[in-house]
Amino acid sequence: MTAALAIGAVALASASGVLGAALRRRPALGQRLSCAVLCTASALGIAAAVPALAGGGGFEIRQAWQEPFASLSLRLDPLSALFLIPVLAVPALGSIYGVAYWPQEKLGARAVRLQIFYGLVTGAMAMVVLADNAMLFLFGWEVMAVCAFLLVLSDPDRADAQRAAWVYLAAAHVGTFALFGFFSVVGSARGSFDFAAWQGLPAAGAAGGGLFALLLVGFGLKAGLVPLHFWLPGAHAAAPSHVSAVMSGVLLKTGIYGLLRTTGFFEAPPLAWGMVLLALGAVSAALGVGLALAQHDLKRLLAYHSVENIGIITMGVGIALVGRARGEPALVLLGFAGAALHVVNHALFKSLLFFGAGSVLHATGTRDIERLGGLAKVMPWTASLFLVGAAAISGLPPLNGFVSEWLVVLGSLRALDLPRADRAAFAVLAAPTLALVGALAAACFVKVQGVVFLGNPRSDDVARARESPREMLLPMAVLAAACLAIGLAPGLLLPSLTRGAASWAGLSTDALAAPASAAGASATGVSLGAAVLLAALGLLVVLRRRLGLLRGTAPRSDTWGCGYAHPSARMEYTASSFAQILVQGFRFALLPRVELQPPRGLFPGFARFATSVPDAVLDLAILPAVRAYGVAAGWVRGRLAGRIHFYAVLVLATLVALLAWRLLWW
């Protein structure tokens, strides 16, 4: 029954875009129907996943397939179910959003194409988390990558979209190549490509380390771990906003899923794996939020925050691996629960934020936050819902982001229980790192919310803005409500997360029972704190009313300009000035560029000042290297072109070298 539901969900989701293409004469109906089909598919899939999380109802299917090494094997266990829910829910909400954001009536063929690939990418992601065979997994993985490439190219004429899409395609295939390496090595060693046959892989030694490195490259590129994040900001900024929401909210998470699924195969992963993931996660989180602070492009900024959140998730996975290496169930449970819950949470609030960014873009036509301001007055709903997302991603209580970050911090503190002089105890440094990252994220979202929605408009773009239609607000409201619900009652999710941790680490749920009940007691404390907070807030609001501060009756005046009578919007604080202290403080990592032409002479003429923060990896390492390679290749081509005798010499030299190697050393 659950199997039928899950397969139905994959099939319906993949085919959902076809209706839009079939009903080209009636574009509005076609788009609404394909949206309805995608929502139905999502509901079916979630109906299959929920019982699996609740402790029963998983399934396993094996069918032969004529492709070499492949079999049609699907499996739904708690780990898959945890990922299946966001993977289906976010695209469904995004398709509702897309009805107003990317209407087929206006955009015609482009919207039809988007709809087809949007459905297909959803189906492919669901396939990836359900696959129980390496070839089937790679099939879904490849469909997912190509569809995402085509989705980034939804506006095929824009130069930034073209560039971002090609960088993404190249990065995705380097990652797939690493996965091919991993799967073929393990598959040939085990004689089967079914995941079921891969349990208990040895992790020790150089061979294990090599396999882990392949996993890091393959899944790290997809997830966007620093330094493999370089494709991410461009691609997520260039795609239409509901596609960005899917890419940032859930598509990245397939990389985390892969990392969790494959590390689950290994028996006793060594301590180094966990520590490496912790370090990589910490660097990703800190650098991601730092680069986000320095951005002025709203969607690029949100994309860098995905790097940050992937870092937090990876730190959780690292803590869980440290726990497995040291046989500490508390670390396994808290690290895994924090990581998995953050996967869900990030899917919720990041899609909420991308929908909000899309609404702003839709209303004003610009993504440059320096040109915005005061939007809360014309778009009150969008502003308030975006604020919920901003507070959630900053890890503030009583919202969901706090809960998962708190679980990861708690997990890292459990490393203190390890005996003295155990290196693994340094995992506790994850806690202050998360504090730094959380505070920087809060700083960044004060900037975004304050500069985009509050204050006075900074340009005329804002003047024509209108509140978004209901189709765009509804998905945002659903996501915001989910953020609040998880923040208020995290304890309800712990049993499911415990089942996920047990199925991942190969432990019985009994082994995790003690830490799970401790975590449950603490989660009750968090709920209590959230309740007290809301009650105190309610009391203060009532008190304000009683003191006569009623809405609209208080006298209004201008903002105090410190004595200056005519402040204008041009004098407002900008996003770059807001971030300046932190960008300067972290300039050793962010490498900001400053262009300065100061005013000179008694009657200064032209003066100019501009700052920007390039991507440290793409703009400062990869592109210069690729360019240098191109120049070198061009030089060689210029020297050698057309001289056939020189080619013959090269061939001979190669042959002699190979012969020498064969005879002397082989």
């Binding site: 506790v428 806690a431 004060v446 304050g450 203060l540 410190c562």
Partner: protein, 303 residues
């Protein structure tokens, strides 16, 4: 038990404005002035609560909600605070994370309310506040981690409870470093000299005060009260950490605690009197220095 809980709640709600009075009185005496009465902050609060408020035309609901959310968050954090080594009203493993993030919530909305006015001065204050806070936060967490390792507890009530006295005997160097670091964080988080000058008159140099320029009436009272409560929270942490003895009688412990808090306020006043404000570019260095001290403490405990 219930009586003691009410006593703790009473301390949390009634004592904070007194600390501000003590700080100001110490500063006045050291400067050779007479200074305002010790109870001045209570009078100010009473006056502000009776007044009406004026709102800027630029502002939205965020500006009106900011002070209430800030005060609610700080008061909720107070619920997690153990007073005088006795367990807090609510206590659970990892509650210090909630404590720190509730203070972050208050800061988030105070800064947003500042940006809501559209004033560049208030924007400047908000930028400084969030920037310095992001450097103070790791230092604070490191202090908690040191305490957790030294006492083996993961809740504030556990860290600052009976386990603290033996921890001082075994790991006094580490705890001393952590206490110094906590004091620096306290000065930064509460906008005191050398980070910020609460009595400055130049908007350009302010941090916390400039963020609340446009608030008036009861909203300003909420802010003032919230700020004094935050000083109380950090003072309570610091006092209990430094005076981490074991007491036979609960009431003796409470008496020492209140005396310690007043001494803490006097110490803050003394620091303000003998130091000049640091240049803004120096503040991050001081906060990073505090983090480094705590890392040393942690290394002492982990090696």
């Amino acid at each position: 038990m219930l009586l003691r809980a009410f006593f703790q709640l009473g301390l949390l709600l009634l004592l904070p404005p007194l600390l501000l009075g003590v700080v100001n009185r110490v500063k006045a005496v050291l400067a050779g002035r007479q200074g305002p009465p010790v109870l001045q902050a209570y009078y100010d609060l009473a006056k502000l609560l009776r007044k009406g408020a004026v709102y800027s035309r630029t502002t939205t609901w965020v500006f009106r909600a900011g002070p209430a959310i800030g005060l609610a968050a700080v008061a909720t954090a107070g619920m997690l605070l153990p007073v005088a080594g006795e367990p807090a009203v609510a206590s659970f493993a990892g509650d210090f994370v909630l404590f720190a993030y509730l203070l972050a919530l208050a800061r988030f909305f105070t800064a947003l309310a500042a940006l809501d006015t559209g004033s560049s001065f208030e924007g400047m204050g908000a930028a400084r506040e969030v920037s310095f806070a992001s450097m103070a936060e790791p230092a604070l967490f490191l202090c908690f981690v040191v305490l957790a390792r030294a006492t083996g507890a993961l809740s504030l009530s556990g860290m600052l409870g009976p386990a603290l006295a033996p921890a001082w005997r075994q790991a006094s160097p580490a705890l001393l470093l952590a206490a110094i670091s906590l004091f620096v964080v306290t000065l930064a988080e509460n906008a005191r000299i050398p980070v910020d000058d609460p009595s400055t008159h130049l908007e350009l140099t302010m941090i916390h005060e400039v963020m609340v320029l446009d608030h008036s009436g009861p909203d300003l009272a909420f802010i003032l009260y919230g700020a004094s409560m935050k000083l109380f929270l950090f003072g309570a942490l610091f006092v209990r950490l430094v005076l981490g003895f074991r007491f036979d009688s609960v009431w003796a412990a409470e008496a020492v605690f209140v005396g310690g808090l007043l001494a803490f306020a006097a110490l803050v006043g003394l620091t303000e009197s003998v130091m000049a404000r640091l240049r803004l570019t120096r503040v991050p260095q001081m906060l990073v220095g505090a983090s480094v001290l705590s890392v040393f403490a942690l290394v002492l405990l982990l090696r």
